[in-house]
Symmetry: C2
DNA sequence: TATTAGCACTCAGGAGTTAAGAGTGCTAAC
DNA sequence: GTTAGCACTCTTAACTCCTGAGTGCTAATA
């Protein structure tokens, strides 16, 4: 394989490479010169194509599975294909499915994300992963504590984005309902409008000493409440179509399936991969991935934004033999939609 | 195979049957007379055991995979094993793992159920499914509508069990915030304490005409609100360890894996199976299952209760070669715990 | 009479062989 | 520069052979 050299492909080589990759993406089977020469858009003899294929292999764009097999795209081949051979394709009507969901307006952002992940995986038959959104701009709207019985209550937290979290807890013996009410009022006074990521700070400085006045066994309850308010892992991962990959012929092997599912269970690791993705759309093919577990898969990521700040990441995970053209346009569309949706949500921030 | 006859097994046959099934549950491999005769608890020659095995096969408790293979338990064999050969086993320390979670008191019932499902599947390496709880005794505690911006708001519904649901929606143009407030007050007045399953009725009769007074484009908003309050599918399914079955050697075949995951996606169907399960613990082995998709699996179900009313079902789905002894005691323990937990939650119903 | 040893028989599964088919690389002709 | 032709390679599936595990039956044994 020639490396470190700028490779100029002839027009014919470009066409042949494209046809081979398109065919392989479609069929998942190696293709030979004879079969290629029969295709309408390739009016060359098998021998000519064989020569070109030999060159393309020398350049590193194609591979053989064994000495006398047909050719298969290499990772470098996919890279070239993604970078140079796929023009802009508009899956406008597919994007509009997602657009409709988002613009319905009746859904909370979280639901939108979940539904987008599911639609995305259904449209592509790959596994979709959406990270986010980050909470930079999210502020606390209201805290409410609602007694359920003499000794239990549910705490409800609402953000300006319509995100709701809640947790049940036991009311400490010494606290009566009027104490509780005062406490909540006090917290709302101090915490409303505070960005979620700053909650911990404000809680520790401003609120802690006030709380002490109301509660005798302050420590335990405060710690508990803090754990509720200050979520360690505020950025959520939405996964759609985990079992879609079972439809892909490359997962015809039980071990591969096993290792895929094992990998998908490590949500932290996946979140990390997505967090580190750059702005804009990014395609990482096979061994280009740094994480061992997905070195035989391709990952497409795109970010969505708010006022230029990176808010989250949309991703699709599939075999290296991926329908890049379709997938890229779809993800581009979705990230635009989600950026718009973010803007809509935060626009009239009360 | 002899059927319709009461079969009396000799003591030795019972022991042999038990050892064979125990061994197969452990190893998943057919076992032959020679290997059996070497076991400590079977001081008989291979020939003797062969004769007994032939009888057990004639009775229908054992099968051969081919003419000269070792024996494997038949479904009838498992049935006999479950009904007569497994004494009470107490996995007390395993049950206590779940007990600790439940009794922590800090979790909402829903979380408890989710965690139980996960622990159950982890302890067993099978897939756990928990249905419920039913809402017979659940009543509405509070409705709240919190404006997020000029034209969006989030509605929050809390039940007496600490269950919280919420949904964002667009505020109709013509409604101002004081209208909204009145409306919510009115709904709380009328709906607090109403059982969730009767919400629809009360909404249609008592609340509908009152609402009309406040809202001009009443219909759309009312319908939307109703859809939120009256959840079509109030009984939820919690699934744990979906990919656990990949560890089972019987799922060494991609097609089986595929059909399993396809089946698991049909949550309605699964919910139906569990809904129709009887009170108490129930073991359904292979073809005893009426649903086609699980005819080569075993399902163990147990119900949990409140004041004698069936509230929900705990289930484990695994290969017919299941660790029945362990699993049954575990599920028994869990259903007791969950019944207790239900009682705790509803005890001080405010 | 119940148990056991012995032996012929069966079958699954792995190793080895063969044949067909798809595809290649090279050479020579166009 | 392109193409036809041909020898060669390698996979895959089908077939055969062989071994080992296990059985059923019969006759000997306790």
């Amino acid at each position: 394989m020639l490396t470190g050299v700028i490779i100029m492909l002839t027009k014919r080589q470009l066409i042949i490479l494209q046809v081979i990759i398109d065919d392989f993406i479609d069929s998942a089977r190696p293709i030979g010169s004879r079969a290629l020469s029969k295709k309408d858009n390739l009016p060359y003899s098998a021998a000519t194509i064989r020569n070109e294929m030999a060159d393309l292999e020398e350049f590193g764009f194609l591979e053989k599975t064994h000495t006398s097999s047909g050719r298969v795209p290499s990772e470098k081949g996919y890279r070239y294909y993604v970078d140079h051979l796929i023009g802009p394709s508009t899956n406008q009507n597919q994007v509009s499915i997602i657009k409709d969901i988002i613009q319905d307006g009746f859904f909370e952002f979280e639901q939108i994300v979940q539904m987008s992940a599911e639609v995305l995986s259904k449209l592509t038959s790959y596994t979709s992963i959406i990270l986010g959104p980050e909470m930079f701009e999210t502020t606390l709207k209201q805290i409410q504590i609602l007694p359920l019985s003499d000794h239990t209550a549910v705490a409800i937290l609402v953000t300006n984005t319509g995100h709701v979290e809640h947790r049940s807890f036991a009311i400490p013996e010494k606290i009566n309902s009027s104490d509780l009410e005062k406490m909540v009022n006090m917290m709302n006074e101090r915490l409303t409008g505070v960005p979620i990521i700053k909650l911990q700070e404000v809680l520790n400085t401003e609120v802690a000493h006030l709380m002490k006045m109301y509660m005798d066994d302050f420590d335990k309850s405060f710690e508990y409440l803090k754990a509720f308010l200050v979520n360690d892992n505020p950025v959520k991962l939405y996964i759609g179509g985990k079992s879609n990959i079972l439809m892909q012929p490359e997962f015809n092997d039980v071990d591969k399936i096993r290792s895929f599912f094992t990998m998908m269970e490590k949500e932290d690791e996946i979140a990390n991969i997505l967090k580190n993705s750059k702005n804009g759309i990014e395609v990482t093919i096979g061994n280009e991935n740094e994480v061992e577990a997905i070195k035989d898969l391709s990952l497409i990521t795109a970010s969505y934004h708010l006022n230029g700040d990176h808010m989250g990441t949309i991703a699709l995970l599939g075999p290296t033999r991926m329908e890049y053209r379709k997938v890229i346009s779809l993800i581009k569309g979705l990230s635009t939609e989600m950026t718009d949706a973010m803007y809509m949500w935060y626009r009239n921030d009360g």
